[in-house]
């Protein structure tokens, strides 16, 4: 975790402009997702998340957290309702444009989804290579993010030579190496001991501080309580609680404001 503390690079990066609260980064309107077998992933789910927010999605296993993430990645299509990201209806994104859309989203998958034939370094570099980044850019950005996630000593290991927690951190590094404006983390602390979990959460928090919107799906109640951020609870695909918790630091948007914005959007 020393590595995490060391690098103030991400935290010190210039703040992005304050959000225009009228356009939420993520907006779901009456979204229902039924899978082919008849399982309900999401059931008439509506929510809005503003730019720069840090949001926890909680709920029992099978409550639809990953389904929500998958919809945002345009990995599946909603059965009903509208999903908007940065004001754009995802249905309007054609098949050929999907890769370019996904490059704006960093996603930490619940099952990591690392590329088995690539080293830690190359896994993270791949996210830059797909965007056509120059070799120089890759050579500076990748070691940076790996230092930040405490993986500097594992650069040349393949995923099957890493512990679960290490794999998880590679997944986080890959998701964030592009500095995406929207970061989705599905169960990012699922395989980690409490201490490492705190490290990961601090990392996510730092990422959030640079202006990225961060959405974390988790079962980790202790973590959510400690972090005191906005919490959206799902139950069988429905939103049963949407609560702005205590303020964290002065620079963050006022939770009361957020609540107002939220209501505005939910009542539309």
């Amino acid at each position: 975790m020393a590595a995490l503390e060391q690098s103030s690079r991400v935290a010190a990066a210039p703040r992005r402009e304050r959000p225009t609260p009228q356009v939420p980064v993520v907006e779901l309107r009456h979204v229902t997702k039924r899978y082919e077998g008849g399982d309900v992933g999401l059931d008439d789910c509506s929510l809005a998340i503003s730019r720069g927010e840090f949001v926890f999605i909680v709920g029992h296993s099978g409550s639809g957290k990953s389904t929500l993430m998958r919809l945002l990645m345009k990995e599946t299509e909603p059965t009903e309702g509208i999903v908007r990201v940065a004001g754009r209806d995802l249905r309007d994104i054609g098949r050929r444009k999907v890769p370019y859309y996904r490059r704006n989203i960093g996603m930490v998958f619940q099952d990591f989804k690392l590329l088995p034939n690539r080293t830690v370094y190359d896994n993270v570099a791949y996210a830059l290579q797909v965007t056509g980044s120059s070799r120089r850019e890759i050579r500076t950005k990748v070691p940076d993010i790996l230092r930040l996630t405490g993986l500097s000593t594992k650069l040349h290991n393949y995923p099957d030579q890493l512990s679960g927690g290490e794999q998880q951190r590679v997944a986080i590094a890959r998701a964030f190496v592009n500095h995406p404006p929207l970061l989705l983390a599905d169960e990012p602390t699922g395989n980690l001991d409490p201490e490492t979990s705190i490290g990961i959460m601090q990392l996510l928090y730092r990422i959030n501080r640079t202006g990225s919107t961060v959405i974390v799906a988790t079962h980790d109640v202790a973590m959510v309580d400690k972090m005191r951020r906005r919490v959206i609870e799902l139950q069988r695909g429905r939103v049963v609680r949407d609560q702005a918790a205590a303020r964290y630091s002065g620079g963050e948007p006022n939770t009361a404001e957020l609540g107002a914005i939220l209501k505005e959007h939910l009542e539309l």
């Binding site: 990645m73 990995e75 050929r96 999907v98 890769p99 370019y100 996904r102 490059r103 996603m107 998958f109 989804k113 690392l114 590329l115 088995p116 034939n117 690539r118 791949y126 996210a127 290579q129 797909v130 965007t131 070799r135 890959r174």
Partner: protein, 298 residues
């Protein structure tokens, strides 16, 4: 930069998936070996069939008491006025007697004298035209009998049964070889593309992840296609080397003894090698590119 990157990706995946890569290369190799042996065999066989067909001939028997002038007249007619004639050879009584008595000495000894007439042996330009020549020299009368166009000609004959047998047999051989060759090529294409599809199938998760990380279809496809090209090349080169070694070690020494093997119409080895190589590369590159399409729909 891009090509270099794709090439490196292709090499990496071969290094990290040696067994599927080896299977793909081996299927190309085996296929090419079989084709490389079979294609010359087909060519040699059809060549041999054609040679047999060339032995088909028409006999024009002359009357027993023809004069030299009459013989000359018939020869002129055959050479200059008859269509489809490739070549004409005069077989004199004496020559015919010598040949036949050698084949059947006792019978001819009993005879004592020479009963055989002078004759012309006509080789047609194409064996299938033999009947046309016969009709030209000995047209049918309305009553079903044959007349002759020249009074010096006694009879125009081909060994009908033999000719028919040879013609149908060679037709069948050629057809069978063609069908077999077609089947073999189809089977080869299926084998190679299936091997490629299987090896891709084991990597569909990887392709899925690449798409989720924001890779475009072509960014994912090129390394796979290059990998196909490289494996196809490797298999092709190995197959051609083995074929060359086989030809030099086994076929060439035998060729001196067996006419069939050195039949004139077999393709030259370099041309065959070039064709096989091209086929290997096209099939494996197309195979990987097309098989991938299904997995790109994420």
């Amino acid at each position: 930069m891009k090509l270099g990157f794709f090439l490196k990706e292709a090499l990496r995946s071969m290094r990290r998936n040696p067994i599927p890569s080896f299977a793909a290369m081996a299927s190309v190799l085996v296929t090419l070996l079989v084709l490389g042996v079979f294609i010359p065999v087909v060519q040699a066989t059809t060549g041999a069939a054609n040679e047999v067909r060339d032995k088909v001939a028409l006999e024009v028997y002359l009357k027993p008491d023809v004069t030299d002038a009459q013989i000359q007249r018939v020869r002129d007619r055959l050479v200059n006025e008859t269509e489809h004639v490739e070549s004409v050879r005069f077989v004199s009584k004496e020559e015919a007697y010598k040949r036949e008595s050698k084949r059947n000495p006792e019978a001819y000894e009993l005879l004592g004298s020479n009963p055989l007439p002078d004759s012309f042996r006509i080789t047609p330009d194409d064996p299938d035209n033999i009947q046309a020549i016969r009709n030209a020299l000995a047209p049918m009368t309305p009553s079903g009998e044959r007349t002759v166009v020249d009074p010096a000609i006694d009879e125009v004959k081909n060994r009908k049964e033999e000719t028919d047998k040879i013609l149908t047999a060679t037709h069948v051989v050629k057809l069978a070889m063609g069908v077999l060759c077609g089947l073999l090529i189809v089977a080869s294409a299926l084998l190679v593309s299936n091997t490629i599809r299987l090896s891709l199938f084991s990597r569909r998760r990887e392709v899925e992840v690449m798409k989720l990380v924001g890779a475009t279809d072509s960014f994912i496809r090129w390394p796979f296609v290059l990998e196909g090209v490289i494996l196809g090349c490797l298999g092709g080169v190995l197959a051609i080397l083995l074929l060359a070694v086989g030809k030099i070690a086994f076929v060439d020494p035998l060729a001196e003894d067996f006419a069939l093997i050195s039949a004139p119409e077999t393709m030259s080895l370099p041309l065959l090698a070039l064709l096989l190589m091209l086929a290997a590369i096209v099939v494996s590159a197309l195979g990987s590119g097309l098989s991938l399409r299904r997995f790109l729909k994420v």
